[in-house]
Symmetry: C2
Subunit: 251 residues, 2 copies
Amino acid sequence: MKIDPNSSADLSAQIASAIRDAIVGGKLIVDERLPSEAELAEQFEVSRSTVREALKRLAAQSLIRTQRGAFGGAFVNRLSYEDAYRGHITTSTLLLGMNHVSFDTACEARFALERACAGLSAERRDADHLATMRAEIVRQAQPGLSDEAFCASDVAFHRALVDGADNPVMSYQLAGAVEAMQPLMNMITFTARNREEIVRLHELIADAAEARNGAAVSTALTELEGYTKTLAQSVFDARAKGQSDSAGTER
Amino acid sequence: MKIDPNSSADLSAQIASAIRDAIVGGKLIVDERLPSEAELAEQFEVSRSTVREALKRLAAQSLIRTQRGAFGGAFVNRLSYEDAYRGHITTSTLLLGMNHVSFDTACEARFALERACAGLSAERRDADHLATMRAEIVRQAQPGLSDEAFCASDVAFHRALVDGADNPVMSYQLAGAVEAMQPLMNMITFTARNREEIVRLHELIADAAEARNGAAVSTALTELEGYTKTLAQSVFDARAKGQSDSAGTER
DNA sequence: AATTTTCATTTGTCTGACATTTAAATGTCT
DNA sequence: AGACATTTAAATGTCAGACAAATGAAAATT
């Protein structure tokens, strides 16, 4: 492992990169201990602070964990699904929030990917998944529910559907698409009539899942996609109209 | 923004968390400048080193960028698709590599998600996407190609298919599933006969995309999934047999 | 043998210093 | 007045050295 002290990049970034490559490339295996900060500083010919900054970068990506005390140090971390989940959702949320992705684009992606789970989920879902879906439907039908809680329950419902496919890789990949939609959905205010229709479609999905009918799940998802899009459209239209009205009175 | 100095967690992690929440929560907007390290140190009542470690954590997630010099500092970064891509692929690759996900599970997820793109891609793909697919097929048919290069071309082919859906959110989400499979695929040695069959299926996919026939793309993908799985199975079987043989002679 | 104490090691944090970069402010010349 | 060169202040990047806190191993004690 060697670095170029003349490069324009920060030394800590270069060092982090070198160690990251070693981990990703399999040269450092899970639970293996890295040299101590002092030793790394000597190896890379930098100060301990610089090494520490590099290690913090890796820790932020859950690539290493650190332990204090004698026989402590930095260890290559086994990346857990939970850690990966969290990071993936954060990144996806920011990506959607910062890049003015249209609601339709995000929505289209989400439902297309979710339909990819429909068949597998109908086939493999267990009683727990179904129970979760039913429970969330009940919650969604409660009258006093806030819009945020309604959206959160919506996410929980769909996550149960996705998890029903019993494929952790799919659950992980889908997490980004499903959860990152929540802030966008939160921009919508749902009328009682809207919620009724969404609950109806969720029931359709749950029924299809119960009957292990993947095609029906898929069809219901498509219908829900369409309804969500028109709902968002009407909300945005109303908002745009409100904007132009107030602009008209202001000037 | 306040932190708890009595918490078990590192101060730098707490500070990073606080700033991260502010960014994700929209309290800090894109391109906004954070206070200088010295000011942050004062606000959080920690030393500058601790603040720096926190900032490095955020930089590792591409949440901020730093600029030196007067009027420099840390700025909230607009998360680009490229940055998110890279991170997503790295994480997905590690996740698959470190958690002994079965080849079948990963393969199933990849093709299920890819089929989710089939319809949109057939509908929207432009001439470039098709040209890329054709070009990669030509490359894959070349006799001298190494297994690694063959796999890389395979990834490029499928990425073109996914990108054809013209939905950046899908491209981003799919990147993890498609690219992270490459190391797994690299464990397979492809005979000339294997490659022939894969090229044939790729041609089927390209033909279907050219004809804007999403259903045919989907069918071909399913066939390719099946072939890939049996191929991997035979390789693993052979390897297991070799293992037990050598184990038998060694002891 | 079990328990306690000591101890060396390692990370976490702080302080203070200097180098480097950068853009604004200032000065100078035409 | 405008173009160009110089200075300067502010900020990050890096370093060195120190101490605190944690932690498990080894030694000492009961």
